[in-house]
Amino acid sequence: MDKYGLYVPQLLPFKEHFLPQAHRACMGCGVALGVRHTYKALEEHRGWMDRTRWDIPFSIPFPGNLVRDGKGGGDEVRPALLSIAKQDDSSSLLLCFDNEAVEGKATPAIFKKMFPAAAVARGFGYVATACPSYPFDLIDKVMRGMTSEGSSYIHILSPCPVGWDYESEMSVTIGRLAVESTIFPLYEVVAGSYRLTIDHPGKRPVEQYLSAQKRFKHFKGKEIREIQAAVDTAYARLRQGKV
């Protein structure tokens, strides 16, 4: 392997805006990884950085047109936030770092599709889903959301070792499993038309994703088959460009 001089991760700028002393996230935090790559994506748009509002559980020294979506109560708050983001400013970028940690209930990821769909219905110009396990895809989508016309919404699945109950070293692998089992497909919606950004021909069974986390340990064969059927139906519809 010595004959190769350049590897793809080295194409990123090595300058860090997301400093390690700036946050108090747990070890293996998916949100921290997503925020770090968002910073890298926004580096070229230095002028927009001082118009950012962040409100996430760990503090970031960011001089402060992003609209925040905090943790908790997502089902109730998120549609309202979508409306606010739409009214507030005609061109803003809404990033939702989703670690599925609604207090008191664990919402399976299959029903996640509603929020991008709600954003599309509210007339957002650019809507996408992303995952920190695919950093270049995430960076690309944040940059496109920043430069596209009108408001943009990006839904970022952020694995959480504490809430999902797995070993912290599995964080990136879990996100990859979620995408490869098509529970959380990566797609983007430009002007209302859906397009898959990563399409896996040989997709994994849902069971691999569910059994990797202890929060789903009560799911037995019957529930897993039901989830698999629901995911397959949703993915087949998404492939045809429907919601």
């Binding site: 392997m1 991760p9 080295q10 390690p20 070890m27 293996g28 770090r36 070293e169 964080s171």
Partner: protein
């Protein structure tokens, strides 16, 4: 002190009297068993024979605690590394091992 449940009793037949009380200290001044400070933190260690300087560890570090040195090899900032082990897991060449700090 909590009365120990008899070993022969299966867990299904336990009543509220046998189940241990949770989330409280039962003995006064006995927080010693919960101490974690003596457990050493794990930090990544690079094997420079196997490392090809691809930068995957740098790409996936959530804490931005991995820096590129002057020679192109990567190194961890031990002050901020939390020892999550993502770099160890994601390294294609198995060049990173998690060792005890210090």
């Amino acid at each position: 002190m909590v009365k120990k449940a008899p070993a022969t009793a299966p867990s299904e037949t336990q009543t509220w009297k046998e189940i241990k009380v949770g989330c409280i200290l039962l003995e006064e001044g006995k927080a010693k068993p919960f101490e974690r400070a003596d457990k050493p933190a794990l930090v990544p260690q690079w094997d420079k024979q196997m490392c090809v300087r691809c930068g995957l560890c740098y790409l996936f570090c959530p804490d931005a605690a991995i820096r590129r040195g002057a020679d192109g090899y990567f190194e961890a900032d031990v002050d901020y590394c939390k020892g999550c082990g993502i770099c160890h897991k994601e390294c294609w060449f198995g060049a990173i091992s998690m060792t005890e700090e210090g």
